[in-house]
Point group: D2
Chain length 359, copies 4
């Protein structure tokens, strides 16, 4: 770590692509005072390019635009316009495919939130505490694609929250069957996102593509690296996804069946003892506890628990016997922080710490 | 039916116990202009007895107190104070046990919403379209308890909604495994019920006793009458129950495994063709369709679908293949109408129509 | 009335412009089974034209698209494509100016919800119960503009609700000063309208242009017809407008100062006795009581009172002494029904009944 | 300040009365790590006394019970059971009258949130930045009542927020007329407080006693100390108070009339320049800016601005010309922090700093 530590005396310049949207704003918050990264550029669509950030973006947080970003001029999402070697992508899937590839081709490392490359064989889909080792796929990626740069993805927001609760249990006991039902916050749909007329006092039991993401991305992240590809975890998983009138925080009910007899106490202990991959420990935005267990009968709750660990901790509660499988529980995490911008930033920290970022 | 038809020239006098609460108010709405029943008495706790109804109750609907009920004097929940032979009980479980028994002992027929007697071997737990035949248990009940009256129960609100969607499928295909996750409206907790500070912009993943009710009551209703008792359905069922900031309407996600191969199309057809027990057809408040199927991608939704069939229709949507079991779907119904007061009134209509009410 | 009555044996064909939006949908609901009008055509933007209505519109109600409208093909908002003589305009202000004029020029009578012509000297801005006589401006309009057709406007939603509560008091006592503060439902912003991230658990104390509309349109409607123009009411009025997380129903707090001493009891009596212009009585969708007074301490409330009179009644409550002016009170009405689509339809009924519609 | 500074080397022991309720919890949060005060005792009703705090209270925040309070045993609200010399009262008005007097009689200084003594001639009603000088009434209080202790009150939550926005303007320009309309968060009603069935998707235009409190308490605080009493400000004020589905933060629309011509720019400048009474500056929980002006068109908003200045800053926006009076604007503040617990703690800091606390 000595070399990277000295490299950090001057912070590494990074950029955010898609900086005006909801996730883009979350990136700005997390990078504003980052000890290792300096937010050097904010990039967005042609429509926004050239305008001061404060004009181009409708800032939707409870805070103010941090630092000097408000006056910063937005640049285009183009490797010619962006100079930073490391870019965080909050781009919409409709454009992320081309733009992220262009940046990788131009030698940049792309930390992507978009769904486009997540399930590609040679793209690591990473949660540092869970599967840091999957970053080894980057060699394959460079070889196969011939890119001097790289794309590293993080999963869909609800999947990340679920997988953080599942990883300790799959590592220790082996999950075989999994039923998931989510209640997801409106911020997961971006801004303007869900119209208030659709969700005030209502539930919408459908989120386009979300169930498929959970059912595939979770198996890749819980899978095993085998040379140049990931062998997905052999878990039968089904997901129901729902939108609820909550601002931030996805709540996830799960029933789990294991290969052997596992009790609620076993599960609780495994979650409490888990610390995650040691390569993730001590990173600047890594929480002290990636997973926390609550014993209060009616927790976790999004409004009360989403911010734990600065939004990076997943809270698990209601661990109890499942009458059909083995154990049921509820997991909750902040969809915009742990489930999106914070996930990418933590991935970048992991790469920086391990000398995997350029130059 | 000739005798009961003539009896109906003068409507049968009925009473509501626990008339001031949320479910009690729903009873008043449904009985206010009922063709067969005349709401003769409103009974409530000692604290309310003697006061005009409008003073004793905090009316929480969007309507006004119907008819002349506002000025009606509340009587005590006591068989000496109530004269009607048929009583609808919206009593809280903390008092329902004693009070309902006292009425049955006094020769009254009690249509109960309370949980106290639901799982007793000799108490029919009835949804007319699903298991009208279970009313035959009343003979056993009278014999065993020596009551001249009777107690007939309806299930917990979320269970009723789920069972209406399940019954057509269990009848036709045989369900073996069942995963349930609910998102329940605040009106299910009565009034004042859920504090706004707990539920505004939040989800509470816990409702006391609710999961156990779903896991047991559903099996009794889907079970088979065998002489003097019910053989519960042999379904492995697990439930997750959640409170969401919705006024009325419980939304229920379900994954179903059958004994044989069943496709989403089979399920859709079975639901569309199902008409329920013929003894329930044509009853005054029976909906034309106890179950309706929607093919819209994002329905059913509580605010938009809870009132279908005057609150008595359960809407089922998102019927699709389940990657672990066979089929998954979403059901939705009005918890206060189909799930509580409307359920009891329909049970009473079924009994009236079949000459099972006193006199 | 004999001629129009016979004309009604066959219902008059009408069209809705901007039929796919939130207000357009409200028009469809109100015209679906109208005794005098037959909804013959649904028109919308070029993007929608040619497609079946059910595909072009995202239906946002709790009901289903009425009658055969779902399959009806949408036509363009063009007098060449629309054949009906009477058109209801739910067009956005950005296009209403040109389109409505084109229809009037083509001999059609336009009942407009848009703001574009409301304050023009020769355009009647009408609430039938309040200022039916202002329709006389149509002569001036035809003379000045040379249109064979006509434009009749209704006011902004919050203004209509306020003016219905104010008219009885201004007629009887003369209002001199008026303070208004609104809490407006999200449906007033159309669909998709207000993003849920902006309004869940929040208040937005700003609605673009709304305060100016209230401060000017109310004076025109409470004004006096003087030959070819309206002399606006001489009331000093100030408005604060706010968006709140409510689905339907605008709640309006008002403090009123009169020219003479007026007590809360005077106000209550004036409101209770008021029946509005007799020309509006008995129209098909006119409510029995355009204004109702509630004496409950905490009413009116949007969720509980917006639907009174089928959405056409304004409820007034909390009539009490104002320590600075004379009296303060709260008014509430359904913004989409009385405040928009229902307002236009009632205007058309008034014109039909008085032989003011073409042919 | 030298003596008090040295006194602070060991923090002063304080107690909270009514510690289990919503405001009591807010006190605990604000006193948990206070530099000058040590939260030594938590007192509540007889029902709670003797139980560990975590059992007696239903903690409703997003955080956990701070420090070692969870295990602390609750004592009775009785001067014999509480030993601290300074007590913060979050008691309900139904008991605060007797209990607070008993503490004052027993020589304790009571910082009270309750309404009971607020309008008494000899009880200072204080916002440190606004009327620190009113604390001089304590001499009169001691003389008239013979109490060795004292009661110092803070105003009702909405009044405090309004007065912080008004004080700079009244000081500089002299307000003569004032129209106020509030939209108040549910946390203002305590816990369990407002039932969700009453407020989800709704507005309740009534809060018991609230309008009277605003209309009287504001004039006392903006009034002038004249020997042994306060001459209330000569402002004509009328208030409309409403409950809205917001968690924290009261939004207040105001129209202001001044004695002379005052423009929106004058108002903005006066607010921006105002620093408040110098005696309040630098107190531990005093915000850098008691009042902040926002120029964003649609701010302040409760969810986005209530937490400014750690909940102690009032945000004012939409400063514009009023067509009837002079200027209108919107003010917003955190009702539980600046409007309740934070207000009392700041009052205690002011007294400590000025040597007005016992011993």
């Amino acid at each position: 770590m000595t070399t990277t530590a000295s490299a950090r005396r001057t912070r590494r310049r990074v950029a955010v692509l898609g900086a005006t949207g909801a996730v883009g704003q979350a990136f700005i918050r997390r990078l504003a005072n980052h000890p290792w990264f300096e937010l050097a550029e904010v990039a967005a669509s042609e429509r926004s390019a050239g305008r001061p950030y404060a004009e181009a973006a409708r800032w939707i947080g409870t805070d103010r635009i941090p630092g000097d970003i408000a006056g910063r001029r937005v640049v285009a999402c183009d490797p010619d316009a962006v100079t930073a070697d490391v870019v965080f992508s909050a781009l919409d899937a409709s454009v992320a495919g081309d733009v992220e590839a262009a940046f990788a081709r131009a030698g940049r490392t792309v930390l992507s939130n978009a769904r486009n490359y997540r399930m590609d064989d040679d793209v690591p889909l990473v949660i540092p505490e869970v599967n840091a080792g999957h970053l080894a796929l980057l060699e394959t990626q460079r070889r196969k694609r011939g890119w001097p740069g790289a794309i590293v993805a993080n999963a869909n927001c609800s999947t990340i929250v679920a997988v953080l609760a599942l990883a300790p249990l799959h590592e220790r006991f082996g999950i075989e069957r999994l039923f998931i039902s989510t209640m997801q916050a409106v911020s997961g749909a971006g801004y303007p996102g869900v119209p208030s007329l659709d969700i005030l006092g209502n539930v919408v039991p459908y989120i386009s593509g979300e169930e498929e993401k959970i059912e595939t991305e979770s198996l890749k992240m819980l899978g095993r690296l085998d040379g140049d590809h990931i062998v997905p975890a052999a878990i039968g998983v089904t997901a129901h996804t729902n939108r609820v009138p909550v601002e931030h925080g996805h709540t996830i009910c799960m029933s789990l069946g294991f290969g052997s007899r596992v009790s609620p106490d076993d599960v609780r202990r495994a979650l409490e003892e888990w610390q995650g991959d040691e390569r993730a420990r001590g990173l600047p935005t890594a929480p002290a506890h990636p997973v926390e267990v609550t014993s209060e009968a009616d927790r976790p709750q999004p409004r009360r628990d989403a911010d734990r660990g600065n939004g990076m901790t997943v809270t698990v509660g209601r661990i109890r016997r499942d009458p059909v499988l083995d154990v049921k529980l509820v997991a909750l995490g902040h969809n915009i922080v742990r489930g999106a911008a914070g996930a990418s930033v933590l991935n970048a920290e992991l790469m920086e710490h391990n000398g995997m970022l350029p130059g």
